[in-house]
């Protein structure tokens, strides 16, 4: 099985290791992520202005380009797969909106017409976690595990965009289980905690760092208090905030211990036997933990 995969900007810049591990894992699971030949920015965060049409061109262009890509792929379905939870949310919301509002879809298609593109409204946007849960299945993942992640105590951090708004959620927004079940499938321990969707502070990291630091302090201390030794996420911005601000808090003497942040695909890669060497994206070094557990 192959999927038309839309990377977005972050996976090519700040989260290269997320993409690399996801693509490698997808090959092993026969749910391969094949990158779209050309793609543009999703628009980052769906616009909620009173007239949204202009802001919808970018996401709908992606959907129409993916439809072209799906035609080229063998053994695929009508799905656009994302890894970034922000892209996932934006594309899902817009996809639902243009499906409901034919007039808006037509207006946007008139803009795409001269580029020989047209969106039919028949694609589905899915986050790779949904593919793993609904199309690959956790039992299949269990079968492919070569190295159980014994000793890893994982807190699953969803952030906002995987669970909100309703049009974009990939799981129950109050009691999600997809990342926890995945954690169990990989042989790691699940840490139950209340901060799974406490906001990371998002873009405030560029201008109001204090807001982000307060959030990160709450989230990471909360995870450690409940015995976690790792946090997993699916969002490059959450990962950046959780990771970089811990180092900042440590330098300021506010926290002593840090906790490594992983993309869920990194843990999958380790469990499925892919040799990982590059941890360049990380701010908190995850190697001491992985070495102590004999995982790298």
């Amino acid at each position: 099985m192959k999927y038309s995969y839309f990377p977005g900007c972050n996976l090519k810049t700040n989260a290269k290791e997320y993409e690399h591990t996801a693509v490698e894992v997808s090959k092993i699971l026969d749910a391969e992520l094949v990158e779209m030949p050309v793609f543009n920015c999703c628009g980052t965060v769906h616009s909620m202005a009173s007239d949204n049409t202009m802001r919808r061109i970018a996401p709908v262009r992606i959907l129409s380009r993916s439809e072209e890509h799906q035609k080229e792929l063998e053994d695929t379905n009508n799905t656009v797969v994302t890894l970034c939870s922000m892209c996932s949310s934006t594309l899902k919301v817009v996809n639902e909106e243009v499906k409901e509002d034919e007039e808006m879809l037509q207006k946007i298609n008139w803009q795409l017409e001269r580029d020989n593109l047209k969106y039919s409204g028949h694609s589905e946007v899915k986050h790779y976690l949904e593919i793993l849960r609904d199309e690959v299945g956790f039992e299949e993942i269990v079968k492919k595990v070569k190295k159980q992640l014994k000793g890893m105590k994982v807190a699953s951090y969803y952030g906002c965009m995987l669970l909100h708004p309703d049009k974009a959620k990939i799981d129950d927004s109050e009691t999600p289980t997809v990342m926890e079940t995945l954690t169990l499938a990989l042989g790691a321990e699940v840490v139950d905690w209340p901060y799974f969707k406490t906001c990371c502070g998002s873009y405030h990291v560029v201008d109001k760092e204090d807001i982000v630091n307060n959030q990160i302090l709450k989230i990471t201390e909360g995870a450690k208090k409940r015995g976690a030794n790792a946090i997993i996420t699916a969002c490059p911005l959450c990962a950046y905030n959780l990771d970089s601000q811990q180092v900042f808090l440590q330098k300021k003497g506010i926290i002593k211990e840090t906790i490594p942040i992983f993309y869920f695909t990194q843990l999958m890669a380790i469990a499925l036997g892919i040799k990982l060497e590059n941890f360049e994206d990380h701010h908190v070094d995850p190697k001491p933990l992985l070495k102590s557990l004999g995982l790298i």
Partner: protein
């Protein structure tokens, strides 16, 4: 006799078209380019004209055709006039050009964003690509720049002649063609291998191999220089 005149009239009708330059109508021969037609109509072009061969990008022209809602744009020196063309010239496009030292920057998305933060405002409307007389996928190279895929951005933008039409059409006010220059410079410096011959020549210059020759030339009279210019050797490509 009367018949002959009407034939000539008919022929004249076939061979001329009416174009509107900045709102004023002119009858011009249909075989001319926009640039030549403007000169035929009496305009003396000082700006908005350059190589007259489609390379320099100085003669951007924007036009509409009678009864057609679309905005067209092209190079005046490369486009033939059509009947009912309403056109205007864009000899210069105001766009900010960033200053940077290539030795101090890296080929990455953050470099592109540092010097041209506007690229983050791209709406992916693709108006830039549609207006490009070189048929460059302008929006895609802006997006590649955002994604840090500098090599792809540079390659996609290779044919740019900096006419600036993209920057004028952009709702996000991005100076695309300057973004492309930065991408190409970064790609050239950090990804491409400098040819041996170039490095050797630079070394020779630094070692002063050509100093003597230049000194000799500088000391010559104008007449002697002209004589030498006429008698200069060409490299025989077959032998070289």
């Amino acid at each position: 006799m009367a018949k002959a005149i009407s034939m000539r009239e008919k022929k004249e009708k076939l061979d001329t078209v009416t174009i509107y330059i900045m709102g004023q109508g002119y009858k011009v021969p249909s075989s001319l380019t926009i640039m030549k037609a403007m000169e035929y109509a009496g305009f003396k072009l000082k700006r908005g004209v350059g190589c007259r061969a489609g390379f320099c990008g100085a003669c951007a022209t924007v036009y509409r055709k009678l009864g057609d809602y679309k905005i067209y744009a092209n190079l005046a020196c490369q486009t033939k006039v059509e009947d009912g063309m309403y056109l205007t010239q864009l000899p210069f496009v105001p766009a900010n050009k960033a200053e940077y030292n290539l030795d101090e920057i890296k080929p990455s998305a953050s470099t592109m964003l540092r010097f041209y933060p506007e690229i983050a405002r791209c709406l992916s409307c693709n108006a830039c690509s549609r207006v490009c007389p070189q048929d460059i996928q302008v929006m895609d190279y802006v997006q590649y720049s955002l994604q840090g895929q500098i090599e792809k951005a540079a390659e996609l933008a290779f044919d740019c002649i900096q006419c600036g039409l993209c920057a004028i059409r952009c709702p996000a006010e991005i100076p695309q063609y300057h973004v492309a220059t930065l991408a190409r410079r970064l790609h050239g410096k950090y990804h491409m291998i400098a040819p041996d011959t170039l490095e050797q020549r630079v070394k020779e210059i630094e070692e002063g191999k050509y100093e003597k020759g230049f000194e000799e030339l500088m000391s010559l009279s104008e007449e002697e220089l002209k004589k030498r210019y006429v008698a200069r050797d060409f490299i025989d490509q077959k032998k070289a």
